[in-house]
């Protein structure tokens, strides 16, 4: 039994799908953000895996992931700030309660 690329991609797919499920179903804004992190992480993993198995000599996948992590950090920081702000404004973080800016 050899560890091929397939083995690493399967958990990544599941992680991603879980992220999708969570994104669609959760009510809490922070929970949605968590799901988002899951998806992002799955994608990062894929980059790394592809880099390792398909282009072992190059480092692009790794760097992409590296930057992706950096940007994820930035994004999370802003998102969290917004969530906190929303909470302050309406006292809730339920996505269904935030309708003011629709339409």
């Amino acid at each position: 039994m050899e560890l091929t690329m397939l083995w690493y991609l399967v958990p990544s797919v599941i992680m991603f799908i879980c992220g999708v499920y969570g994104f669609i179903t959760r009510h809490n804004l922070i929970a949605i953000l968590l799901s988002l992190e899951l998806m992002l992480n799955a994608a990062d993993l894929n980059f790394v895996v592809f880099n390792r198995f398909l282009f072992p000599g190059a480092m692009e996948g790794m760097f992409f992931t590296l930057f992706s992590i950096g940007i994820a950090a930035a994004e999370t920081a802003i998102a969290v700030a917004i969530v906190v702000n929303i909470y302050r404004a309406i006292g809730n973080t339920d996505i269904n309660e935030i309708k003011k800016m629709r339409f």
Partner: protein, 643 residues
């Protein structure tokens, strides 16, 4: 002849119109009146000079060696060129009928100008009245001197408008407003026929000018190449349509309905426009185109029939009117119809087409005595302040001048020797008998009716029974400005019959010697005298015969009094059918179908966007579902396509 004088005939009235129309508000009434009368007086003098020079100078420019009077286009300026061939010119055509009309129009117009000074005194808009009179005189003069049919159409429209303005002179009265509107629209409708007739005629002739058309009618016929439309030749159609224009202006059946209502205008206007000049424009038009009508006998027959029916109808209706101006209006219709019939029966082979001459002669004499009658009626109205004979009666003692002049007018129109109407009517009847006995007999009957209703009117106004109101308000004769025209016109009516008219105006412009046709003259005179006698019996003194007669035939009387319901029929067609059904449904269609379709496009767009607006819910979870499903779908499709 020099060009300047004929130009002045047209230029003075239009200048007067502009001066009085624009500057009228800044001048006193007296000044406006003097200016108007002076202008018209000068015009009349020039017109007399021009016409008399034309008839009597013997200048080879006007009459050739054989005695043929020539058609002289004194000037002819290009106004508008449709194509190289079809050119509209404004000119001045001098020939027997236009010279005759110059005299008639300027005379009556001057009389009316003078008369109005007295009649309109104290009216608001006195200046405006004189301005419009000048405009009318200009248009009418332009009409009769037209060198081409399009110029005639131009002035034809202008007289229509001046008539509209003058009928609606008392514009605060709703009845005057609606009467003026009616007059304009009915004549406009007729003008549509005229216009289409001109379109057809000019399409084949390639010219508007009267001289080539009337001097060489056979080539016009040839140019149509025998084209026909619905069984009649196109030339017949053109002529009939042109005649329809004439029917409108001359108030022939069934387009007569505007004329009685036009009596809402001031009485001098009725005398000038709706008795003497404008309403004979139709006759003049047919006379102008006469050589062309001659080659299409069907169109002449049409003219005759329309004339004969109208003459009888109007005479019957005139017997049952209360308003004296309406009686005179119907009598005008009847007399013009007389002229039409006379034109219609004229043929070159019958005594050199003297029906034409008779018709023009009657036009001339009728203009004089009808203007007289109307002006007399104006004096009566001025005196008793009412249009109805019920407010009059026994006036002969109070208004002797009016009485005598009115009597002369009545005798003239009834055709009693030696008054002018006798001569012209005799000629017309002779022409009708010469064509067919039926026309002669029919029109003799109409002549009898004419005598009857005119004397009915005369007796009811001046005899019958003295109206009790005179005690409070004693009627008296009119001031000199009004009486003078009456006297002059009465004098003319007495002597005009002795003018040797045939020497001047005939259809082929060759002199023709009038001779009284004794049998016809005797018949018509007898009929007229009998009718007058009947009227004398019935109306000289107050007696119950008329009311008994009325009671005996209530339906007939009512029908005749209501003018055989023509107005109601027209009201029904125009108001109920055209206005309510056609116009309203078109307007409805426009708003609710066409516009609604356009709005519908907008609504559909809006509805669609509203419907798909829900997808832009702002709910990020919904977005991701759609996004994800879409991505899956795309990937799946790609997958399937690849493998």
């Amino acid at each position: 002849m020099e060009m300047t004088l004929p130009i002045l005939i047209l230029a003075i009235p239009i200048t007067m119109f502009l001066i009085l129309g624009i500057g009228g508000v800044y001048m006193s009434k007296k000044m406006a009146g003097v200016l108007g009368i002076l202008g018209m007086g000068v015009t009349m003098c020039i017109a007399y000079y021009v016409a008399l020079t034309y008839f009597f100078s013997g200048d080879p420019a006007f009459i050739d060696a054989q005695g043929l009077r020539l058609q002289v286009p004194v000037f002819d300026w290009l106004w508008l060129a449709f194509t190289n061939a079809l050119q509209v010119k404004l000119g001045f055509l001098l020939d027997p009928i236009s010279a005759m009309m110059l005299i008639v129009i300027t005379t009556i117009s001057f009389m009316v100008h003078l008369y109005s000074w007295g009649y309109m005194e104290g009216e608001k808009g006195f200046q405006r009245f004189y301005a419009f009179l000048s405009l009318f005189s200009f248009s009418m003069l332009g009409l009769v001197v037209a060198t081409n049919i399009f110029q005639m159409y131009i002035f034809w429209e202008l007289v229509g408008v001046s008539s509209y303005l003058l009928i609606g002179f008392y514009y605060k009265l709703p009845s005057a407003v609606s009467a003026s509107k009616k007059a304009f629209i009915v004549t406009r409708f007729a003008d549509l026929g005229f216009l289409i007739g001109i379109l057809i005629l000019s399409f084949y002739c390639k010219t508007f000018d009267f001289i080539p058309i009337t001097n060489d009618p056979t080539s016009v016929l040839a140019s149509t190449g025998g084209a026909t439309f619905m069984g009649a030749s196109v030339l017949t159609w053109a002529l009939v349509l042109i005649f329809v224009g004439g029917m409108g202006k001359s108030a022939m059946m069934p387009l007569h309905i505007w004329l009685p209502d036009a009596m809402e205008g001031p009485t001098p206007v009725s005398a000038l426009i709706h008795a003497a000049t404008m309403v004979v424009a139709g006759v003049y038009l047919v006379a102008r185109m006469f050589p062309l009508y001659l080659i299409e006998e069907a169109s002449l027959l049409f003219v005759t029939c329309v004339g004969a029916i109208t003459a009888f109808y109007a005479a019957v209706v005139a017997c049952c009117q209360i308003d004296i101006k309406r009686v005179l209006a119907f009598s005008t219709i009847s007399q013009i119809a007389f002229m039409m019939v006379a034109l219609g029966v004229a043929r070159p082979e019958l005594h050199d087409g003297f029906g034409y001459m008779a018709s023009m002669f009657h036009l001339f004499t009728h203009a004089m005595f009808k203007a007289l009658l109307f002006l007399g009626a104006g004096a009566l109205i001025h005196a008793v302040h009412s249009n109805d004979y019920t407010a009059m009666g026994g006036l002969r003692k109070y208004m002797p001048i009016t009485h005598w002049t009115f009597l002369i007018g009545c005798l003239a129109i009834a055709g009693i020797w030696p008054f002018s109407g006798f001569f012209s009517k005799d000629e017309m009847l002779a022409a009708m008998f010469a064509n067919h006995w039926f026309w002669g007999a029919w029109m003799t009957m109409v002549a009898g009716l004419t005598a009857f209703y005119m004397f009915r009117l005369y007796y009811l106004i001046f005899w019958w029974e003295e109206n009790p109101h005179y005690k409070e308000h004693k009627p008296h004769d009119a001031p000199w400005q009004m009486s003078l025209p009456l006297i002059i016109l009465a004098a003319v009516s007495c002597v005009a019959g002795f003018i040797p008219f045939g020497e001047f105006v005939t259809w082929n412009r060759m002199p023709y010697h009038i001779h009284i046709e004794l049998p016809v003259a005797a018949t018509s005179l007898t009929v007229a005298i009998l009718a007058i006698a009947l009227a004398t019996v019935m109306y000289r003194k107050k007696n119950p015969i008329p009311s008994r007669l009325k009671a005996a035939m209530p339906g007939l009387w009512q029908a005749a009094h209501r003018r055989f319901y023509w107005d109601e029929i027209y009201m029904f067609i125009t108001h109920k059918i055209i206005f309510n059904i056609i116009c309203k449904s078109i307007a409805w269609f426009d708003r609710h179908v066409i516009d609604a379709t356009m709005d519908g496009f907008a609504k559909i767009t809006q509805k669609t966007s509203f419907a798909i607006r829900g997808m832009q819910s702002g709910s990020i979870q919904t977005y991701i579902v759609w996004y994800f499903l879409g991505a899956v779908l795309l990937a799946g499709i790609t997958w399937i396509c690849i493998f």
